[in-house]
Amino acid sequence: MLTGKVLKYKDNVDTDVIIPARYLNTSDPKELAAHCMEDIDKEFVKRVKSGDIMVAGKNFGCGSSREHAPIAIKESGISCIIAETFARIFYRNSINIGLPILECPQAAREIEDGDKVTVDIKSGEIVNVTKGKKYQAQPFPPFMMELMEVGGLINYVKAKIAGKRA
């Protein structure tokens, strides 16, 4: 169960504003996190605390395939992202690196900046503690849940290859 304070964003947050290309000459998560959301919210790096939850509108993470975007968000301390919809590359990148991510249009629209929210990744239940309201996101299909549970695609592949050798 994840619990955190919400940082809220609008529709079509693209990967260029999540982590501008001028910082892509490194892949160090700490350096990337230092510039996370810089072109859309200069206060983000000061505001974010470990465990916080990001909530956004439609098409979150659209644009470039840069995995540096979910890496920067995860390294910032964000424990989960809830959005109306996600751009597909950002969605698979988040799953692959083990960053929980849920689509729930109603929750994404109603939850406000600063609300306290709890998320049960397994069942997809989202509770807005501040407003006393519950939402149900579509839970992950078994394969994606398995990826999340083992900590991402690399661990999954590692286990698969080890299984073949054994």
């Binding site: 290309a21 000459n25 892949s27 072109d39 644009g63 597909r88 692959n96 590692k158 698969k160 290859i161």
Partner: protein, 420 residues
């Protein structure tokens, strides 16, 4: 119920008789691609798997095209890391300065992607190869790492929007205007998780460069891929490049589509996308008062030889506006050489344009043409997000090579009709 073209390619690569939209599958890959921004992350992830070889040395391509020629020490270190990885693993298709081109023009040119292939690339514009009748899509670095180890990737099978094209383009109108028009119509998430399948008599009349441009920007509508059927023009393009056998696919006649959109190509105007989303489109005629500081012609979207010919036709014997820095970058070395032989580079330089070696640089605000605060550019690239080409308060207007070249001459957004 039949399958779409994309579903048929995916079913075949997953070893299944049939697949349906929404199904999760594991598919075998014909090519795995990365660049100098995404591969360093993939190498780190690959090393965590703990194996000492890649699944197939011929089926991986690494192209150092984003911050190259290396723009700073950190970029040079990134390219060194991937060069060493490529050498250690014996990866055959590693390209850098000298033979490097922008990845999505280079791979088709070298015959490394072919009709019927299933391709992933750690770059969002990997969807470009749909022009060849391949399934290709952008992924992240972890997917690239896993695929380099296993030769496979997981996919959620997409449904498709079918675009029925008829008629042909008016003078100066191109594939770029069509795809901008489509994104303006359906929005930047209008094809989210879906395929954009192009068919109809309008396709037959279209050059390969137009098809590449249209497939390239599928991601700007949120799509998983864009795809064209294989015809004589495709086979002509592939001939002499393909060094292995390939298979062609077509959609079943009873395939189901989420939406069918009919478009008459003769009705498409010269189109410009205003900041800060590719869906903010307007006819170029309605954008004429926008004063600009820079023009960029090139990129994986519009750096083909056909694009350079159009730009040269507009710029021949003219001078670009003194207040407009005009940068032209052919997508590959072969295109550069062809442009030189055809005298296009001479036309550009005489007109006062800078001609650059192939690089992704200016398109993503990397280097070779960054915008200052408050500046505006007309670019033939694919994205106009906040800060995309430089300062967060700069602006990018997306357009075709014809509109970009005309705008370079007048110093404001213009159509070729104004300067010819």
């Amino acid at each position: 119920m039949g399958m779409t073209m994309t579903q048929k390619i995916l079913a075949d690569h997953a070893g299944l008789d049939r697949v349906k939209g929404g199904e999760l599958i594991m598919a075998k890959l014909d090519m795995v691609l990365g660049n100098d921004v995404t591969t360093p992350v993939a190498v780190k992830e690959f090393e965590k798997i703990g194996i000492d070889r890649v699944f197939d040395k011929k089926k991986i391509a690494i192209v150092a095209d984003h911050f190259t020629p290396n723009k700073d020490i950190k970029s040079a270190e990134q390219v060194r890391a991937i060069r060493e990885f490529a050498e250690k693993m014996g990866i055959e298709n590693f390209f850098e300065v000298g033979e490097m081109g922008i990845e999505h023009a280079l791979l088709p040119e070298k015959g490394l992607v072919l009709p019927g292939d299933a391709v992933i690339g750690a770059d969002s514009h990997t969807c470009t190869y749909g022009a060849l009748g391949a399934f290709s899509t952008g992924v992240g670095s972890t997917d690239m790492a896993a695929a380099m180890a296993t030769g496979e990737a997981w996919f959620k099978v997409p449904n498709a929007i079918k675009f029925m094209l008829k008629g042909s383009f008016n003078t100066w109108v191109s594939g770029k205007d069509l795809i901008l028009h489509i994104i303006g119509m359906i929005g930047v998430d209008g094809a989210l998780y879906q395929s954009m399948e192009y068919t109809g008599e309008g396709v037959a009349a279209m050059e390969m460069a137009d098809r590449f441009t249209i497939a390239n920007m599928a991601i700007e509508a949120g799509a998983k891929n864009g795809i064209f059927g294989v015809d004589e023009k495709t086979l002509d393009y592939v001939k002499g490049r393909a060094k292995r056998a390939f298979k062609t696919y077509e959609a079943d006649s009873d395939a189901e589509y989420v939406r069918i959109i009919e478009i008459d190509l003769s009705k498409i105007p010269l189109t410009v996308a205003f900041p800060h989303l590719p869906e903010n489109t307007r006819p170029a005629e309605e954008a004429k008062n926008i004063v600009i500081n820079q023009v960029v012609i090139g990129s994986c979207t519009n750096g083909w030889i056909e694009d350079l010919r159009v730009a040269a036709k507009v710029l021949k014997g003219k001078k670009v506006n003194k207040k407009v820095r005009t940068i032209i970058f052919p997508a590959t070395q072969a295109i550069y050489l062809q442009a030189m032989r055809e005298g296009l580079l001479e036309i550009f330089v005489e007109a006062g344009c800078a001609v650059s070696t192939p690089t992704c640089g200016p398109c993503l605000g990397g280097h070779m043409g960054i915008l200052a605060k408050g500046e505006r550019a007309v670019a033939t690239t694919n994205r106009n997000f906040v800060g995309r080409m430089g300062h967060p308060e700069s602006e990018v207007y997306l357009a075709s090579p014809a509109v970009a070249a005309a705008s370079a001459i007048t110093g404001r957004i213009s159509t070729p009709w104004e300067v010819l």
